[in-house]
């Protein structure tokens, strides 16, 4: 029977890594390749928009990548890295490839790196709008040219084909821009002719590396074994276990529907699957089904700059304010800020007040909005420039500190600031501007693949 083994890890994007011993143990199983996902939209639109990795330490990410590269080269098997540096744009790809170059030189290794660019030009997307090839996802509004033109960066989420193309062009290490997590792990299995249902389900199961093992704390390594009839997953860390429950449960994680999973080439269905324990560390899965799509589609993700953010943080202990007048007082504060903005000619800005100790976390959905004896307030202003954002948030803080209100006793100050200065400029603020999918003729057409000998 045909059998393919490979390793899946996690811990690159967050820079926290994984036990090196887990990778070494996995390599003893003679895997065909190593894969790791390095991206996500879960941390919000900033990383895609600003072009930064989520983990702010370049050195930390580099050390994780060094461990992966040195072991993959020593074993002479491909290393596939998907969704470079969180956002998977060109800047993220370049940042990661530069790390690879440095590592190759420092480790005196010579190999070929393949880079897959997933960033899309505005004209590509507007042409797709004109040709009716775009579909809004998850209730997004139909995409307009203005949405495209106002976006800082738009990436297409690649399927498995660009990975195999990069490998065919001689890449030993593939650094991909934005990619479906599944594509990293199903590319080689599908090209080798394995059942696409099992290959896709294994890839989906293993995409987060050690997260399906118990305990799930920290990055770690999983071994995936694919055959024509089933797949198996095993943590390579001898201190970790898996169970049919922990493996099956991964279909719940960050997915809207546990039975149906949509990918560029089609849809995975898991409703007929069986999950069996082989032993207390290995789970076997059968019955996964793949329904090929009529059209090949690429999900698109984009982020737009909405301004600059500044915040202030303060506490309120006065019971009259906390229990009787807080919303009215906050409303007057935002009105005072609106007046200030108007006098300064600031037309577009947002102000949000998050009241911790009452309903900051859930807002209008909070079932118990009874305030505590004290509350914390984060005032968040996004305005056209860093200067106007700081100005407006300072105005809000000063109003809260000194403004009068009925039955006030606190004529020397209404709120407690824990910080001096009382305001903080955060950074650029973004929002997701594109969450759509685009049909394409050719799985490779939107991805530029380049190879380079490094070291």
């Amino acid at each position: 029977m045909n059998e393919l083994r490979f390793l899946a890890l996690n811990g690159l994007m967050h820079g926290n890594g994984f036990p090196e011993s887990s990778l070494e143990a996995g390599l003893e199983a003679d895997p065909a390749f190593i894969g790791i996902d390095a991206g996500s939209t879960d941390g919000g639109p900033y990383y895609l928009g600003a072009g930064e990795n989520m983990h702010q330490s370049r050195a930390a990410a580099k050390e994780v990548l060094r461990t992966l590269i040195t072991h993959a080269r020593a074993a002479d098997i491909p290393l596939l890295v998907g969704s470079a540096a969180t956002g998977g744009g060109r800047v993220h790809l370049d940042w990661t490839v530069e790390l690879v170059r440095e590592i190759a030189t420092e480790e005196a290794l010579e190999f070929t790196v393949g880079a897959i660019d997933a960033e899309q030009s505005a004209s590509t997307i507007t042409q797709a709008i004109d040709e009716g090839r775009l579909e809004a996802l998850d209730g997004s509004k139909p995409l307009t040219r203005a949405d495209v033109e106002s976006s800082e960066r738009i990436v297409a989420v690649m399927g498995p084909e660009p990975y195999t193309e990069a490998l065919d062009r001689g890449a030993d290490v593939v650094i991909a821009g934005r990619s479906s997590d599944v594509s990293i792990f199903k590319a080689l299995p599908v090209e080798m002719g394995f059942d696409e249902g099992l290959a896709t389900h294994l890839a989906k199961t293993i995409e987060c590396g050690g997260q399906i093992a118990t305990p799930s704390t920290g990055g770690d390594c999983m071994l995936g074994v694919l055959t024509d009839e089933y797949f198996r997953v095993t943590p390579t860390n001898p201190e970790k276990t898996t169970s049919p429950l922990s493996v099956a449960s991964h279909m719940l994680y960050e997915s809207a529907d546990p039975f149906v999973f949509v990918e560029p080439r089609g849809t995975l269905h898991t409703d007929d699957c069986s999950y069996q324990a082989v032993d207390d560390r290995t789970v076997e899965v059968r019955g996964s089904r793949f329904e090929p799509a009529a059209e090949y589609t690429l999900k698109l993700e984009g982020a737009r700059l909405v301004g600059y953010r500044a915040i202030t943080v303060l506490g309120i202990r006065d019971p009259v304010l906390v229990h009787r007048q807080l919303d009215a007082f906050l409303d007057r504060t935002t009105a005072a800020v609106a007046k200030k903005a108007k006098t300064q000619g600031i037309q577009e800005y947002t102000i949000s007040t998050h009241v911790y100790g009452r309903d900051a976390v859930m807002g209008a959905r909070e079932p118990d909005p009874t305030p505590s004896h004290e509350v914390g307030v984060v005032v968040d202003v996004v305005a056209p420039t860093a200067d106007t954002a700081k100005g407006l948030v300072h105005h809000a803080g000063n109003y809260l500190l000194h403004a009068d209100y009925p039955n006030r006793t606190s004529t020397a100050g209404n709120v407690a600031f824990p910080l001096s200065p009382q305001d903080a400029a955060i950074d650029r603020a973004y929002e997701f501007s594109v969450w759509h999918r685009m049909s394409v003729e050719d799985p490779l057409e939107r991805f530029d693949i380049s190879t380079e000998v490094v070291g």
């Binding site: 879960d42 099956a248 279909m251 994680y253 529907d257 546990p258 976390v361 859930m362 959905r365 909070e366």
Partner: protein, 103 residues
């Protein structure tokens, strides 16, 4: 009557894409999961009520292989846009904790 929090092993929430939050209610005992499932206490309507949403905005799943129930609802705004209070959607499950099950 027993609350979900005293029956389930895991109750959690997280983004499912940028427009949805999904809530997972997971059990470690097949018997408990089956009892909750057969009680009929968990329905689309119950979760719509807990989040003050219309039933058409709520997707409810019984996921037997994971001994889990899943509820997917719209976010109040897209993840990370100005004013969002929970970028990961990780703390949106509290209304589920005290749902009562007649077992």
């Amino acid at each position: 009557m027993t609350t979900l929090r005293s029956l389930a092993q895991v109750i959690r929430s997280k983004n499912a894409g940028i427009h949805y939050v999904t809530i997972d209610i997971m059990f470690d005992s097949p018997a408990t999961y089956q009892a909750v499932k057969e009680s009929g206490a968990l329905t689309t309507a119950v979760f719509a009520d807990a989040y003050e949403l219309s039933e058409s905005d709520v997707r409810f799943f019984e996921y037997d292989p994971g001994l889990a129930f899943k509820v997917t609802i719209p976010r109040t705004q897209s993840a990370g846009s100005p004013g969002d209070s929970d970028i990961y959607g990780a703390q949106q499950y509290a209304p589920v904790l005290d749902i009562e099950v007649p077992i």
